[in-house]
């Protein structure tokens, strides 16, 4: 496996002087190619800030980010972001298809754009809605459109900022499984942040646990669950239960429980 993302000593401070607020403090980690990494941390700890630094939307005040070895200075070509708030992130004046084609607008021919958007909409199980407008769809479908738009760009790295936090529980389960299966099929590299412990363990090949603000990495846990997950059986499994307990303990400020960490990393998959 090669390293897709390298984050080194990343810090970000909003404002200056008296009003300065350190949102992220000295984060260092890597994401390997083909991996689905979850970052879990309490609300307000700096998760969105971290993703915005990685995606080049803001320039971090300290440290650096590199994507497949290239230092990130602006928004990289082969990176895509899915935001939590799909209703504010889809362009309401564009149809679903035009939204999905948006990142390709200036790069691909009309025919190629059409082909890619059809394909991406199929990946997220939304065939045949290309002509509708986002606001004619349910919340879950709108978030599928956002995901399709991100995939249409064929990103080397897909960043997701609490993508399922605004949909109902049933839809969230569907979207989680959809994401896992798309990732397995295409070997995509995904970095997803969430405040939801269960979600981080259910989705991730690995969970990075962040501290309260300013975010520091408290633990980096491999998730030893089968690649194919199941909303009921996976969540019932002993591994899942002990891992989520471990993450919960870490989030409450505890130190990693040695035996649990040992069990998790030594069990064969």
């Amino acid at each position: 496996m090669s390293t897709m993302l390298q984050v080194t000593g990343l810090s970000h401070r909003y404002g200056t002087g008296e009003h300065a607020h350190v949102a992220v403090n000295d984060l260092t980690f890597t994401v390997e190619t083909g991996e689905l990494s979850c970052i879990v941390g309490p609300s307000g700890c700096g998760k969105s800030t971290l993703l915005r630094c990685i995606s080049g939307l803001i320039t971090p005040t300290g440290g650096e980010v590199s994507l497949h070895g290239d230092r990130v200075t602006g928004v990289p070509e082969d990176l895509a972001v899915v935001f939590q708030d799909y209703s504010r992130s889809l362009f309401p004046w564009l149809t679903v298809r035009q939204n999905v084609e948006f990142p390709l607008r200036w790069k691909k021919s009309r025919a190629e754009r059409r082909e890619r958007s059809e394909e991406a909409l199929e990946w997220v199980s939304l065939p045949g809605v290309g002509g509708k407008y986002p606001w004619q769809l349910s919340g879950g479908m709108q978030q599928r459109v956002s995901i399709a738009r991100a995939l249409a760009r064929r990103p080397a790295l897909l960043l997701m900022d609490e993508p399922f936090a605004s949909v109902d529980a049933q839809t969230r389960f569907e979207l989680e499984d959809l994401l896992r299966s798309v990732q397995l099929q295409h070997g995509s590299t995904i970095l997803l942040v969430t405040h939801d412990i269960d979600e981080s363990v259910y989705l991730g090949d690995r969970v990075l646990v962040l501290s309260k603000s300013p975010a520091r990495i408290v633990a980096d846990l491999p998730v030893d669950l089968p690649a194919e997950r199941h909303q009921i059986t996976t969540r019932e499994s002993a591994n899942f239960v002990s891992l989520r307990a471990e993450v919960a303990r870490l989030l409450q400020g505890g130190t990693p429980a040695e035996p649990a960490a040992g069990v998790v990393s030594e069990k064969p998959s």
């Binding site: 939307l57 928004v75 972001v81 935001f83 504010r88 992130s89 004046w93 948006f102 790069k107």
Partner: protein, 256 residues
């Protein structure tokens, strides 16, 4: 269909009342001719070539003024909307200029641009700029930062964001401004023709009918045509807006 029927019923009621008031002698018929006479005069005027030339002169001046106001106000609104510093720096002058009634500027404008159709056009431009400018500033200022971030993360640069995010986002607001300006522009063109005189125009026609014999039937018929024109323009723009910005009505209705 219902509201249209109700509107027409209201209009018919008004015309009947007008007719009755005049026929009962509550107002002298010489000063206010009855509705039937005025309507008949209106119909015959619409087939009258010199009068149609007046209508065309007014509509032309209105269209030029509105077009020019759009061309000035939209970029200015974009600039002021996206540069808060500039907006603050120009606030005093804008707030001073905006409430000045256009007709108060007639002497100044005639002095500067002369008494031709340029003067009514200039005044209508002045009056029409403000609603468009205000709506444009608001729209460009209010744009959701997440939408911009989305576009940036899709690889769009500044100019592309302007063209494919800021403008479409602002378009329905700007269009509302244009609709308001369209009405104001027409009022200013006709009043300038009436107050300052003009070579041609509905206001000029009304002025001519007022002086001399004082043909009130013609005065009122001219007024009815001006009102009709305003109604048609507003109705047309409203239909166009509903068609173009269906996404806007749909999303704002959902948010409420």
């Amino acid at each position: 269909m219902r509201p249209i029927v109700r509107n027409l019923a209201g209009l018919a009621g008004f015309l009947l009342l007008w007719e009755a008031v005049v026929r009962l002698g509550l107002v002298p018929e010489r000063e206010v001719p009855p509705a039937s006479v005025v309507l008949a005069r209106t119909v015959s005027l619409l087939g009258d070539e010199p009068f149609l030339r007046d209508v065309i002169a007014t509509v032309l001046a209105w269209a030029i003024a509105l077009g020019t106001a759009i061309v000035i106000a939209v970029p200015a609104g974009l600039l002021l909307g996206s540069l808060p510093g500039l907006r603050v720096a120009t606030r005093a002058i804008v707030e001073f200029l905006r409430p000045i009634p256009s007709v108060a500027l007639i002497p100044l404008v005639i002095l500067v641009v002369g008494g031709g159709p340029e003067s009514k056009i200039a005044l209508a431009i002045y009056a029409a700029i403000w609603p468009i400018l205000y709506n444009a500033i608001y729209a460009f200022d209010e744009i959701d930062s997440l939408l911009i971030d989305t576009a940036r993360s899709c690889g769009a640069g500044r100019m592309r964001i302007l063209a494919s995010v800021a403008l479409p986002h602002a378009a329905p607001f700007i269009f509302t401004g244009i609709r308001m300006s369209a009405a104001i522009g027409l009022i200013v063109v006709v009043s300038t023709e009436f107050i300052a005189g003009a070579a041609a125009g509905i206001g000029q026609f009304i002025l001519a009918a007022t002086s001399g014999g004082g043909r009130m039937d013609l005065v009122l018929a001219g007024t009815v045509v001006a009102g009709l024109l305003g109604y048609l323009i507003n109705d047309g723009l409203e239909r166009l807006g509903r068609r173009l910005f269906r996404w806007h009505t749909a999303t704002t209705a959902e948010a409420m």
